[in-house]
C-alpha cells in the first residue's frame, strides 16, 4: 500500500478543492488516518474505490465517535529574560478545541489485498441534527452502520437511502452513546452499592437523622 502522503496527494489531485489532512496516530499501532472535508467526501471516496492502484472496494467498519470540548496543552521552548539572563524556558499554551462528532471509515482492498486506510469525516459541532455526507452510495456496507451512528450519536447522513433508528425503539428520544447522555433513574435495590450507584441509591432511601453520619444509607422508602 502506498504511504498516506502519496494517497493524500492523489486525492487532492483527483477531486478539485478537496482538503485532505493527515491525522497522526500517536500510539504504536501505526494506523494514522486521513481527514476529508465534508463537501468533497463522496468524490474522494469514489476515487479511492475506483482508482486501479488503490481500489479500496471494501469498507470494513464505520464508527461514530463523540469528542467533547477538549483543552490541548502545548509546551514550547520560548526565549525569555529571566533574572537578566536570556534563557530558553518551557511555556505551556492551552488551546481550546471545541467538540465535534466524527465518522471513521476503515477501508480495505479485496482486489489488491492491502489496507487498512482510515478516513474521517467531522461535523462542525455537537448540536443535534448535524449533517455529514453519506458514503452509502459508494460502499453499501455503510448502510446499516450509518443508521446505527444516526441512532446512537445523532449524525444525519445526507444521501442515505433509509435513515431511521435501528437499535433503539422508534419513539426513543436523544442519542444514547453520546458522552453527555444521562440514563433514566431506573432504581433497583442493590445489596452493596458503591460509587455512582451509591449516589443514586441515596436518593431513594429515607435518612435516619438520629444516627451519626446521617448521609449513610438507611431504611428504604416504602
Amino acid at each position: 500500500m502506498e504511504t498516506l502522503e502519496q494517497i493524500k496527494n492523489r486525492c487532492e489531485l483527483a477531486a478539485r478543492g478537496a482538503k485532505v489532512e493527515i491525522v497522526a496516530n500517536p500510539g504504536p499501532s501505526q494506523q494514522s488516518s486521513l481527514l476529508i472535508d465534508n463537501e468533497h467526501a463522496v468524490p474522494v471516496a469514489r476515487f479511492l474505490r475506483d482508482h486501479p492502484a488503490l481500489s479500496f472496494d471494501f469498507c470494513s467498519n464505520v464508527t461514530g465517535v463523540d469528542w467533547l470540548d477538549r483543552v490541548a496543552k502545548k509546551t514550547a521552548k520560548v526565549k525569555q529574560v529571566v533574572d537578566g539572563v536570556e534563557k530558553e524556558v518551557d511555556q505551556t499554551t492551552e488551546e481550546k478545541i471545541p467538540g465535534y462528532l466524527e465518522a471513521v471509515y476503515h477501508l480495505y482492498s479485496i482486489k489488491l489485498k492491502h489496507g487498512p486506510l482510515i478516513i474521517r469525516l467531522r461535523t462542525e459541532n455537537r448540536a443535534d441534527g448535524t449533517r455529514l455526507p453519506s458514503l452509502t452510495p459508494v460502499w453499501r456496507s455503510a448502510e446499516l452502520q450509518e443508521r446505527e451512528i444516526f441512532d446512537l450519536y445523532g449524525i444525519v447522513f445526507d444521501g442515505h437511502p433509509d435513515l431511521r433508528r435501528i437499535l433503539m425503539w422508534d419513539e426513543f428520544k436523544d442519542h444514547p452513546m453520546r458522552k453527555d447522555y444521562v440514563q433514566p433513574d431506573d432504581f433497583e435495590w442493590e445489596p452493596t452499592p458503591h460509587d455512582e450507584v451509591l449516589e443514586r441509591a441515596k436518593q431513594h432511601y429515607t435518612s435516619r437523622p438520629q444516627l451519626d453520619g446521617a448521609e449513610k444509607i438507611t431504611a428504604p422508602q416504602s
Binding site: L167, M168, W169, D170, E171, F172, K173, D174, P176, Y181, Q183, P184, D186, E188, W189, Y205, K216, I217, T218, A219, P220, S222
Partner: protein, 208 residues
C-alpha cells in the same frame, strides 16, 4: 404429598395390587410430568437451554421435550437471556397469550435482574418487573444441570399446588389476573418502568 391418604394404608393396598390416589395428586402428576416449554430463547442462555434439550442433558426424561413454537400451546416460558426494554412488551404479550396454568422460569442472571448488563440504557433489570416468576436460576450462563434442577423445582412446586381450599393454586382463583398490562415505549424508558402489582423488590434496611 397427600395429607388425605395414610401412607401405611396406601403401601399396604399397593402390595395387594390396589392403587389409591386423590384427584389432586393425579392431576398434578399429569401436569408436572408433561410441561411444554415455549421455544423462546433470547441470548446466550438459550444455547444452554438447547444444550439441555440435546442428547447429553436430555430434558425429555422430565417430560419437557416438546418445545412449542406458539405460546397458545405452551405451559412454561423459560426466559433465557437478557430482556431488553425493546423486547419487554413482546414478552408480556407472549405471556398474556399463554393459557392458564402457566409458569415462568427466569434463567440466567440477566433475566433475574439485568445481570452483567445492568448499567445499560436498553436493559430491563429483571423480567419480574412485569410478569410473575416461579423459579429463578442464577448463573451466567447456568449449566444445563442447573436448568434441570430448576425444572425439578418447578415440578415440586406444581406437585404442591392444591386444587381446593383457601390455599388453592393461583390460577384457580377467579380474581387473580392471568394477563398483565403491556408496557408502552416512552421517551427514554418503558412506561411504566415496573408493574407495582407484580414487582416486589426486597425492603431491607442497610446498616452503616
Amino acid at each position: 404429598m397427600s395429607e388425605q391418604i395414610d401412607e401405611n394404608l396406601r403401601s399396604e393396598l399397593q402390595r395387594q395390587g390396589v392403587w389409591v390416589t386423590s384427584m389432586q395428586e393425579l392431576y398434578n402428576w399429569g401436569r408436572k410430568n408433561s410441561i411444554w416449554p415455549l421455544q423462546f430463547g433470547l441470548a446466550c442462555c438459550a444455547i444452554e437451554m438447547i444444550a439441555t434439550a440435546a442428547s447429553r442433558y436430555d430434558i425429555a426424561r422430565f417430560g419437557g421435550e416438546i418445545f412449542r413454537p406458539s405460546p397458545r400451546q405452551a405451559d412454561l416460558m423459560i426466559v433465557a437471556g437478557t430482556v431488553t426494554k425493546k423486547m419487554a412488551p413482546q414478552i408480556v404479550r407472549l405471556y398474556n397469550q399463554m393459557p392458564d396454568p402457566k409458569y415462568v422460569i427466569s434463567m440466567g442472571a440477566c433475566a433475574i435482574s439485568g445481570g452483567p448488563f445492568k448499567q445499560g440504557y436498553n436493559v430491563l433489570k429483571g423480567i419480574d418487573r412485569y410478569i410473575p416468576v416461579d423459579v429463578y436460576i442464577p448463573g451466567c450462563p447456568p449449566r444445563p444441570e442447573a436448568l434441570l434442577h430448576a425444572f425439578m423445582e418447578l415440578q415440586r412446586k406444581i406437585d404442591n399446588q392444591k386444587l381446593s381450599g383457601s390455599e388453592k393454586a393461583e390460577f384457580l382463583k377467579p380474581e387473580q389476573p392471568s394477563e398483565f398490562p403491556v408496557p408502552a415505549f416512552g421517551d427514554h424508558d418503558l412506561n411504566p418502568p415496573a408493574n407495582p402489582k407484580v414487582y416486589h423488590p426486597p425492603k431491607l434496611e442497610r446498616q452503616s
